[in-house]
Amino acid sequence: MQKFACIFSFKMSNWVSCQKIVFNLHKSYQLNPKLELLNFNFSHSQTSGEIVETAQAIVMARPDALVILDHQPHPLPLLQIVLPMLGTKKPRIIFHVFGDFTLFYAQWDKLAQLLRGYEVDFIVASDRQKHLLDKFLPTPLSAHVCPFPVDPHEFSYNPALRKLQRQEWGLKENDFAYVYTGRLSRQKRTHTLLRSFSDFLEKSKSTNAHLFLYGNTDHIGDQFVGIWETEGEYFRKINRIYKSFSAEVQARIHFMGSVPNAELKTVYQGADMLVNLSVHNDEDFGMSVAEAQCSGLPSILTDWGGLASFQHESLPEVTTFIPVKIGEKSKLIHYGKILQAFDKTFEKGHLKNRREISEVALARFSVEASSKTLAKIIKKDPNSFTGFSSFFEKVLRHVIFANAPYLTESKTINKLYREIYSSYVRNP
C-alpha cells in the first residue's frame, strides 16, 4: 500500500470546468486499491500560518508521493515549505498540469530549483498538451497523458431526459438543437459561432435549427495577442452582432445564461450537437466536450489544442473538426468549414447511435478509465528531475523582459508564440 498525499483546494475553483476536474481526478485515485489517500487542503483563502500548518501535516504523514491535483493556487508556496522539511526521504511528486502552465513560467522556474533530484511526473490531459509541455521538459523526461475524468453517474446516456429538455426548450421532434456550454468569450470565439450560425440559417433557409448558449460572458480578452477587455466589453460586442441579425435568426439563438453543472446533464440529452469553436490559449482538454460526449452527444469542434482529443477511431462521424491556423494577428478558424459542418450535421439529422457514442467516450474519459491510466503511470519508474529545458529558459527570458512577449513590433504574432503553440494545431 502506497501512501499518497493529495493536495488540492477543498474549496471549489472559480473556473467551473476545473471544479469538476479536481474532484473527479481524486475519485480516480480513490478507485486504486493499492493507494492510501491522505487529503491536504491548499487554497487561495489560506493564511500563511495555515499553509505552514498544511506543510507540517504533509511532512508528518511521511507520504510516498505528493500529488498536486489542482492548478490553483500554484503549488510553489506550499512546496517551498514542504520540500526542505522532508529530509532524506524524498517522495515522488506528481503534478497534474492544466492549460495554464504557460501563464506561470516564473513560478515553475522557482519550483524547478527545489525539485532537482526528486522523482517527478507531469501528467497532462491530452496529446497536444503533452506535445506542448514536452518542449519545456529535459530529455528523457516526458509528460504522461491522462484525460480529465468524467463521472458516469453525472454524465452518461439517459434518453428519458431528452423529452423533458426539449419540452422546456419548446422544440418539436424534428427540430435540431445545437448547443454551446462554457464561457461566452473572445478566445472561445462566441462571436464567430453567432455569425456562422446566422449565415448557416440564412443560406440553408432552415426553419428548425436552434442554437442554445449556456454560460456568462467573460472579459479575459486575448492578452497573448495584445487584446485586453473591460467587463461588459465582450458582452456588448456579441450583443451588437446578435442584434444585427434578422428577427427570424434572433428567434433561433437562445442565450440561457449560466446554469449549475448538474443541469447540463439534461441539456446534453436534449441537444443534437455540441459546438465549440474555442481557440483559447489554455485549451488543454475540453471538459464540457468530454461531459457532452459521455452523454452521447456528437460535436463540431475546432482542431485546436486538447479539443483534438475528442476524435474516436471507431466512430469518426461523432466529431467534425474545423481547421485552425495561427495567422498573422490571431488564431484563424476556417469559416467555410464551420458552415459546411452546420450544413452536413443538419442534413444528417438526429443520430441514432447516441448510446454507442456515450459508451465509446466513457471508455476513454470515465473516472474508471482514468483510474486505470493513472495506475499504469504510477507503476512506471519516474525520472529524476534535472530542471526545465533550454527552451523553457528562452521563453522565460522573453516573458520576464517583454511587455508583450508574443508580439512583434508591428503587433503581429511572433515566432516564440508559434514555437509554443504550434503544438495546438494539426499542421503548423
Partner: protein, 317 residues
C-alpha cells in the same frame, strides 16, 4: 438628444475601454474611489459609464458626447457646485443620470441631462426567491442611522421561513468622512437582522466566496443602502443582475414609456434612457449653502452638507 445618443452608440467609444486604459492615470483619481470597493468597479457599455469625480482633466469631458454618470448624490452635488458656472466649457453634450439625482440639477443646465433607468423583465420577490443575499457596505454613511434600521429593513420579514439567507457585509470606514470615527454599524445591524429574522442561521460570505458564484438566477439580493449617497450606479448591482439576480434597486419590469434609447447590459437587464423626471428642484438650497460656507473646499467631505442633502432629497423624492 436621440441623435447624440445614436452617434455615441455607433462609435462605442468609452473611457472604460481597454484600449484607453493607459490614457487614464488612475493614480490621479481621488483616493476615496479605491475605498469604495466593491461598489465602483469599472465596466463598459457604449454610453460611457464613468464617475465624474474621476475625470481629472477637462479633456476627458470632451472625449465622448455622452457620459453615463455613476456618482452618488454627494459627489454629484459637489461636481455641480464646482462646475455649474462654467458648465458650457466642459463641452460634453449629454450627461445621463439616475432619476433620483434630478432634483439637484440646476434649472438652466437641464438641457444637458437625460435620465437612465434599469429594466429587468424577469424579477423575483423576497417571497419567491430560492435564496436571499443581504448586502451592505457596512458604514454609517451607506446604511444611515442605526435607529432607523428596523424600519428601513422591515421588508426582510417577507422572506419565506425556509429560504436560505446569506450575508455579504464587508465592513468599511465612512469613505467620505474626515474624522474617521469608529463605526458600530455592524453590531447594530446584526442585532436588527436577528430581530427581523429570528432563529435564522445566516451563512456569512467573504468577498472571495461572493464573487466565485456565477449563477444568481433564483436569488434576491437585498441591498441595505439607505439611498444613493456614494454611487448611483452600483457595480455590485450590475454584476448581480448580469448573472440573473433580482436586486431591490427599483429596476423596472417593462421599459419606461418615455424611453428613447436602450441597450442590453446583459442577457438579463437593460439600460433605458429618457428625459429627466419633473421634480422639485433643490439646487438653490445647495447654492445658498455654498455661499454661506465659502471656507468649504470639498463638499464631498462636509458632514453638514451631506446631512442637508440627504434630508432635502428625502423630503423631495
Amino acid at each position: 438628444m436621440y441623435e447624440i445618443l445614436k452617434e455615441q452608440f455607433k462609435s462605442g467609444k468609452s473611457l472604460t475601454q481597454s484600449k484607453y486604459y493607459s490614457t487614464v492615470k488612475r493614480e490621479l483619481w481621488p483616493k476615496f474611489f479605491w475605498d469604495l470597493y466593491p461598489l465602483a468597479q469599472e465596466y463598459y457599455h457604449e454610453l460611457n459609464p464613468y464617475f465624474l469625480f474621476n475625470l481629472y482633466r477637462p479633456e476627458f469631458f470632451k472625449f465622448t458626447p455622452v457620459i453615463t454618470v455613476r456618482d452618488g448624490y454627494v459627489p454629484f452635488a459637489n461636481f455641480l457646485l464646482n462646475n455649474f458656472q462654467n458648465f458650457s466649457k466642459l463641452d460634453s453634450n449629454v450627461f445621463l443620470i439616475h432619476p433620483e439625482l434630478a432634483p439637484i440639477i440646476p434649472e438652466p443646465l437641464k438641457k444637458h441631462f437625460g435620465a437612465w433607468n434599469i429594466v429587468q423583465k424577469k424579477q423575483l420577490t423576497l417571497q419567491t426567491a430560492k435564496k436571499v443575499i443581504i448586502f451592505g457596505f457596512v458604514c454609517d454613511q451607506y446604511l444611515g442611522e442605526a435607529d432607523d434600521f428596523m424600519k428601513c429593513f422591515s421588508a426582510l420579514k417577507e422572506i419565506h421561513p425556509d429560504t436560505p439567507v446569506e450575508l455579504y457585509l464587508p465592513i468599511r470606514k465612512n469613505v467620505l468622512d474626515l474624522n474617521g470615527k469608529e463605526s458600530l454599524a455592524i453590531h447594530h445591524l446584526m442585532d436588527v437582522l436577528k430581530d427581523l429574522l429570528p432563529g435564522r442561521k445566516f451563512k456569512i460570505l467573504s468577498t472571495e466566496t461572493f464573487f466565485s458564484v456565477s449563477n444568481f438566477k433564483d436569488c434576491y439580493v437585498f441591498d441595505l443602502a439607505l439611498d444613493k449617497f456614494y454611487v448611483s450606479d452600483n457595480y455590485l448591482h450590475y454584476y448581480l443582475q448580469s448573472r440573473g439576480a433580482t436586486v431591490n434597486n427599483d429596476s423596472h419590469l417593462v421599459a419606461p414609456k418615455d424611453s428613447i434609447f436602450s441597450l442590453d447590459l446583459s442577457i438579463h437587464h437593460e439600460l433605458h434612457v429618457g428625459p429627466l423626471p419633473e421634480v422639485k428642484n433643490i439646487f438653490t438650497e445647495l447654492l445658498f449653502y455654498k455661499k454661506q460656507n465659502t471656507f468649504v473646499k470639498d463638499f464631498n467631505f462636509d458632514a453638514t452638507f451631506q446631512g442637508m442633502l440627504r434630508n432635502l432629497l428625502k423630503k423631495h423624492p
